[in-house]
């Protein structure tokens, strides 16, 4: 059944890590992680991009040498001239796959160039999926807020269209993107002179309610769930529904171990409880939560069950 084995995909790093830490992280992924694909490229904030740009070719080459398919992501929110130019450049890259994070790249992407679609693009229904497939989409990671019934319908539609459907299986859920930088705002700084304060929080900064409940996390202009979801109990259902790939979003922990736990869980050799224990042992700092598709709110309600 090796050809129907679901793909494990390491998503793009959403947080602002020092560039050396990021390069070392991906070098280890290249050599040791049992993942099929690795995403690179800045999704959240164009101000971070210049730090990574010089090192990107070397990192891509290392990943490819490690047998990984490399996918380069575009920015999620594009407003400035510089950001538009960056997106157009990425859309023209040869030798790698690209993933779109909004519809801006479709203005410049050649009709014969295939692309992947990130969970930050609104693909809620089979009409949108069908149109994107016809335009060249080969993999679509569904929005994290979709309930299981919608995921199943989309996976079936994707199978019929020959498009891989992917789910956001691990990590703090990307919930919103804004023109405003919250990291800068709470430090009393303007976005344009932010001093890169987001770099102090490699998993994002926790946002709690006034009554001390763990709620959200901020990452510059992005808002995430505070809990780190792990779609583990749902694995068999998702595979049976036709989901073809599971995305692991990098957190500041041993992602090689997280990938191993998911691989074992998807193969059915360990159960959800064992997988959760392995993830906690990997040094994950945010609380573990359940994905929205489980239909339980708040998303932390079922966690930590390990």
């Amino acid at each position: 059944m090796s050809e129907t084995r679901p793909a494990l995909v390491l998503g793009p790093l959403l947080f602002n890590w020092p560039v050396d830490k990021w390069a070392d992280f991906l070098a280890r992924i290249a050599d040791e992680a049992d993942v099929d694909r690795v995403h690179v490229g800045e999704v959240v904030c164009s101000k971070r991009e210049p730090f990574y740009a010089d090192r990107l070719p070397e990192v891509i080459e290392r990943l490819q040498r490690g047998g990984k398919t490399v996918v380069v992501d575009t920015l999620a929110l594009v407003t400035l001239k510089r950001e538009r130019a960056l997106v157009a450049d990425l859309a023209g890259l040869d030798g790698v796959e690209i993933e779109i994070n909004d519809f801006t790249p479709l203005a410049s992407l050649p009709a014969d160039r295939r692309f992947a679609v990130s969970p930050l693009v609104n693909v809620y229904d089979e009409g949108t999926l069908g149109w994107l497939a016809a335009r060249g989409a080969w993999s679509v990671c569904l929005p994290p807020e979709l309930p299981f019934a919608s995921i199943a319908t989309m996976a079936a539609a994707g199978t019929a269209l020959g498009v891989e459907t992917q789910i956001f299986a691990f990590g703090r859920l990307p919930l919103a993107i804004s023109g405003r930088c919250y990291h800068a705002r709470i430090q009393g700084l303007a976005k344009d002179s932010c001093r890169y304060v987001c770099a102090e929080d490699p998993d994002g900064l926790d946002v709690d309610t006034l009554d001390g409940e763990a709620f959200l996390a901020i990452n510059g202009v992005q808002t995430l769930s505070q809990s780190c979801v792990a779609a583990l109990d749902e694995a068999e259902r998702l595979i049976a529904a036709g989901v073809g790939a599971f995305r692991l979003s990098p957190q500041d922990c041993d992602m090689v171990a997280v990938a191993a736990a998911f691989r074992a869980r998807l193969a059915g050799t360990i159960d959800g409880t064992e997988a959760r224990a392995a993830i906690v042992a990997a040094g994950l700092k945010p609380p573990l939560g359940v994905p929205m598709m489980s239909g339980s709110w708040p998303a932390t309600a079922g966690a930590p069950r390990a």
Partner: protein, 334 residues
């Protein structure tokens, strides 16, 4: 000084959550009304609001008799497996005589372009088309005639966008302010399982509970405390992004203060920036709000066209938190 140029007349686009508010807005001087069906196709799917098919047809006749246009918002993202409900909404809007539909979902826009080529298509703010390239994609691929711009752009950015695109732009000038890129926010989903994109509700009232605790009014959304306000302080509706939280050593409004957008004073530069239409938010508000805000903005637009200065602070009492902001139109907001 040169002789004043003839000013282009912007369109005042006003909200209607009920047939009564619709008539109120028409009579208060709206150039166009936007409204939606009483179901999940509508991003203001709140209890007691919106239009059934016959109410919409009657209201459109009333508007057209008064020379007012009607834009029907079908601006949620269709539920997988149930797209027929959204397709029917577009067909019914056309049959009822709508002047345009306001759409957000790519698949639905593609459907409307093929099946209803003569029905004018506006791109909802929920589609978050935030730059000229993205807008060109929508215009060239699907014949979008007007795009409602996200509330994250400055006046200068809006002017730059208009210089590069061929369709009309519509911008919000008053009402509740989304701090996130609209249509790209699942905060409500995370707390309650219900979201603007899917169910057409943000921070839904079904999940809101107010409790008096000592001198505090505690506002909860789902299981989460969104705010505590002491006596005598203006109360917020517990909209997630306007709550008070702690983050590191910071305690307060992490995302946005409970303020309301009021860009009345920016009407002149926005007209100069090439904006075609000014939109007032508030389909969930009462007809008293509709009357007051539409009349105030009718006067503001007319004053501008006549070369008179615009009066400041006309509608402060109607604003959430009772204070207003120019939002992202001023770049310091970021």
């Amino acid at each position: 000084m040169n002789a004043p140029l003839a000013k282009t007349r912007p369109e005042l686009v006003c909200p209607a959550g009920t047939p009564a508010a619709f008539r109120t807005a028409v009579e208060a001087g709206a150039d166009a009304i936007y409204c939606g069906f009483r179901d999940e196709t509508n991003a203001r799917n709140f209890p007691g609001l919106n239009f059934d098919r016959s109410e919409l047809a009657q209201s459109i006749r009333f508007a057209h008799d008064h020379g007012t246009k009607v834009l029907v918002a079908i601006n949620t993202f269709p539920r997988a497996g149930a797209t027929a409900l959204w397709h029917k909404a577009v067909a019914d809007a056309e049959d009822a005589g709508a002047d345009a539909v306001i759409l957000a979902d790519l698949g639905l826009v593609a459907h409307a372009a093929v099946k209803h080529p003569n029905l004018r298509r506006h791109l909802s703010v929920q589609a978050a088309a935030s730059n000229p390239d993205a807008i060109r994609f929508w215009v060239e691929t699907f014949g979008i005639r007007r795009v409602v711009l996200p509330r994250i752009l400055s006046v200068a950015e809006i002017a730059a966008i208009n210089a590069e695109i061929t369709c009309e732009t519509e911008v919000f000038v008053f009402g509740g302010l989304c701090v996130m890129a609209e249509g790209r926010c699942s905060l409500s989903s995370h707390a309650t399982g219900k979201s603007p994109n899917m169910q057409g509700v943000c921070s839904p009232p079904s999940h809101v509970v107010y409790k008096e605790e000592g001198d505090d009014l505690v506002a909860k959304l789902g299981a989460y405390t969104i705010d505590r306000t002491p006596k005598g302080v203006a109360a917020p509706y517990p909209t997630l992004c306007k709550g008070r939280f702690t983050a590191g050593t910071y305690q307060g409004h992490v995302f946005e203060d409970p303020v309301s957008l009021d860009a009345a004073m920016l009407i002149p530069p926005l007209v100069d920036a090439g904006v075609t239409a000014f939109k007032i938010e508030g389909r969930q508000r009462s007809r008293a709000y509709t009357q007051a805000v539409v009349a105030a903005f009718r006067k503001a637009v007319d004053d501008h066209l006549a070369g008179r200065p615009i009066a400041a602070d006309m509608t402060r009492r109607l604003a959430e938190g009772q204070t207003t902001t120019a939002g992202a139109y001023k770049k310091t907001w970021r």
